[in-house]
Amino acid sequence: MKLKRSLAPTLLILTLLLGASLLYGLMQSLGYLTIIGEKELSLTAYQNLISGQGTAGREFWASLGFSLWVSIVSTILSAIGALFLATLLNRRPSNFDTFALNWNLAFPHLVWGVFMLLLLAQSGLLARWAGALGIIQSPADFPVLVRDRYGIGIILTYLGKEIPFLTLLILALLRTQSDGYLLVAQNLGANAWQRFRLVTLPLVRPALVSGSLLVFAYIFGAYEVPALLGVRYPRTLPVLALESFTNPDLRARAEGMAISLIIAFIVLMIAGFARAKEELQG
């Protein structure tokens, strides 16, 4: 009984708000658009996407590939970076270290993206300095780091944001831990790699896996950064979804909504798979 009371507020708020919102979204993706008088439910939007037809559908597969590329690369590199940093700081992160890690939590993704753009664009701050120093002759000589075809700018932006986030998540967990195991391992003669693999990694893996999933979910569904730093083609799925959704042609709205739900579905599949694997490994 007490258990139910503890869980009820969180579960009620989340499931009801999410459920009701998704219900409306689903209806829209099925073409229930009362504005243009369409009340027939149909799977047209989904069929368009799968078969690569329709306003947004033609780009669906390219967008899906691009989104997966950006999200997976960003997530994996962030997790590796965070593990590395957290291990480095594990024993006694100094106040300054923690401060440095916390620091860019203060930068919302949009601002961080603006910063990357001002810094790395072909005529950005670094290019201006390079130009003034005579290293490059014209902006075109500067490497294309943002608004590039391969999403480098998007990935760089996410690395800068997500590595500290994951590091903090791991550290918050390690902080409540005593150093016992590590000391024991050290006394038994374990080297740094063994201590990491046998003590730290098992300890932080659950947090790292769920943290990485959050990061992946965030990146896969985020609009702001790819909208700011992406190219016109290919676009990530969320950008394609929102732009279809706000397309003056109302029929594209259902496709936009359908893409959003597909994003949600894909992330859920991956999250479910990762958890199942985690459980199998014990």
């Binding site: 009801l16 504005i35 902006p139 003056p248």
Partner: protein
């Protein structure tokens, strides 16, 4: 699972049940009696949704309309800056879906693509644009006014200003004699100067890019007027030639045509930072307002090709569920006042688009003097008036908008 769905349904119904039953805020004025409109507007706040990306336009709206509304009519202006007009169109459409009668939006700054959407959804307050006093200054017989992106206006929106497609170059970098003066010239120029030209990607929210491609369609087909009505056969005949044109010099473009600027402002930035040599504008003052805002170099100047530079009007509209229609009407009327029409074209005031009214309809000598004075002070960054007039053509019929956008995307951007 069943219980969850049940809970969801109950929750939704509960929420719906406690929704406020809004009473209609209209019908307290008579459009035929302007004084009754003024009386109804007294004390109201008019919420004006408009694109808010330009500081100078924002300041112009607040300093001119905002102040005058308060002083003259006791109406408060609540300007809501939005990143993309599509966002407030969505708001209005969503309100309609939810049956909200007291809408958030009183007045909207829109252009043709959004107008078409709102008209299609029957979300516009009707029969008012020709009823407000200052609509006497509007030339409703002009097809460029009574059609918006080719769609009949039908008294659903009122003009604010006019615009015409132009290019910007930097007089410190280039000589006026060396400028390309046609699309054919431009392609040659671009390949002689690899990487120094690009244009805005056509698409929803970037109509300048669409307009640039339409101009090419006009020039290649040799006639603008034939595109005033939809003709599939004509489109099938000429559109492949247009894609050929763009694909041929694609590799000569900035970043070899791998990507394109998303909007006018990204292109301004590329131009200002010497990444490319041309930008695009719609303003009657050419580069004037952009120079004042510090977006482009002070030596920037505007120019046009010899032909096929599309011009049109932009409008304000009132959603049918607007809460403060009287105040919205007062504002829409104020916009057309010759005094403010003169103010909006002056580069130092920050707006910089052209007249929405037909200045020959203004008879009051003082007002005529103000308008003439404004025209004489457009600044040196503007395209010469005779060049503008010579090259002006009307837009194509509205269905071509999405045909051009999708065709370009398919054949040029994604391409072979």
């Amino acid at each position: 699972m069943k219980r969850l769905i049940f809970a969801l349904l109950v929750f939704s119904m509960l929420l719906a049940a406690c929704a406020p039953k809004s009473d209609s805020a209209t019908a307290d004025f008579d459009l035929a009696d302007w004084d009754s409109v003024l009386a109804a507007a007294d004390g109201q706040t008019v919420t004006w949704y408009m694109w808010g990306g330009s500081d100078s336009i924002n300041a112009y709206v607040d300093n001119f309309y905002g102040v005058a509304l308060k002083e003259r009519y006791n109406v408060t202006l609540n300007r809501v800056p939005v990143a993309d007009a599509a966002d407030y169109i969505n708001q209005v459409l969503s309100e309609k879906e939810a049956g909200v009668e007291n809408g958030a939006v009183d007045l909207m700054w829109i252009n043709g693509e959004n107008f078409f959407t709102l008209k299609q959804a029957e979300m516009l307050y009707a029969d008012w644009a020709q009823a407000i006093p200052n609509s006497a200054f509007v030339d409703w017989g002009n097809p460029a006014i009574n059609r918006d992106f080719g769609e009949p206006v039908e008294d659903l929106e009122s003009p604010w200003s006019s615009a015409q497609f132009q290019f910007i170059y930097d007089s410190a970098r280039m000589d006026a004699d060396s400028l390309p003066r046609s699309y054919a010239d431009l392609a040659t120029w671009a390949c002689e100067h690899p990487g120094r030209f690009t244009y805005i990607a056509p698409g929803p929210g970037a109509f300048q890019g669409t307009r640039f491609v339409k101009g090419a369609l006009f020039e290649i087909s040799g006639d603008a007027a034939q595109w005033g009505t939809v003709d599939e056969a004509l489109w099938d005949e000429w559109s492949p030639k247009v894609w050929d044109y763009f694909n041929k010099f694609k590799t000569c473009l900035w970043r070899e045509g791998e990507t394109y600027p998303k909007d006018e402002y990204e292109l301004h930035s590329l131009f200002a930072n010497n990444e490319v040599d041309f930008s695009i504008t719609q303003a009657i003052v050419g580069a004037g307002a952009l120079i004042d805002e510090g977006l482009v170099p002070t030596t920037s100047r505007a120019f046009v090709f010899d032909n096929y530079m599309i011009g049109d009007f932009n409008y304000v509209a009132i959603p049918s569920n607007a809460s403060n229609k009287a105040a919205a009407l007062v504002l829409a009327n104020l916009i057309l006042d010759p005094e403010f029409q003169a103010a909006q074209v002056l580069p130092e005031n920050g707006f910089g688009l052209g007249f929405g009214i037909d200045v020959t309809r203004v008879t009051d000598p003082d007002q005529v003097a103000v308008l003439e004075d404004a025209l004489a002070n457009l600044g040196e960054a503007a395209t010469p008036a005779e060049d503008m007039a010579k090259s002006l053509v009307g837009d194509a019929a509205s269905p071509y908008q999405s045909m051009v956008e999708e065709g370009w995307r398919e054949n040029v951007l994604i391409g072979q």
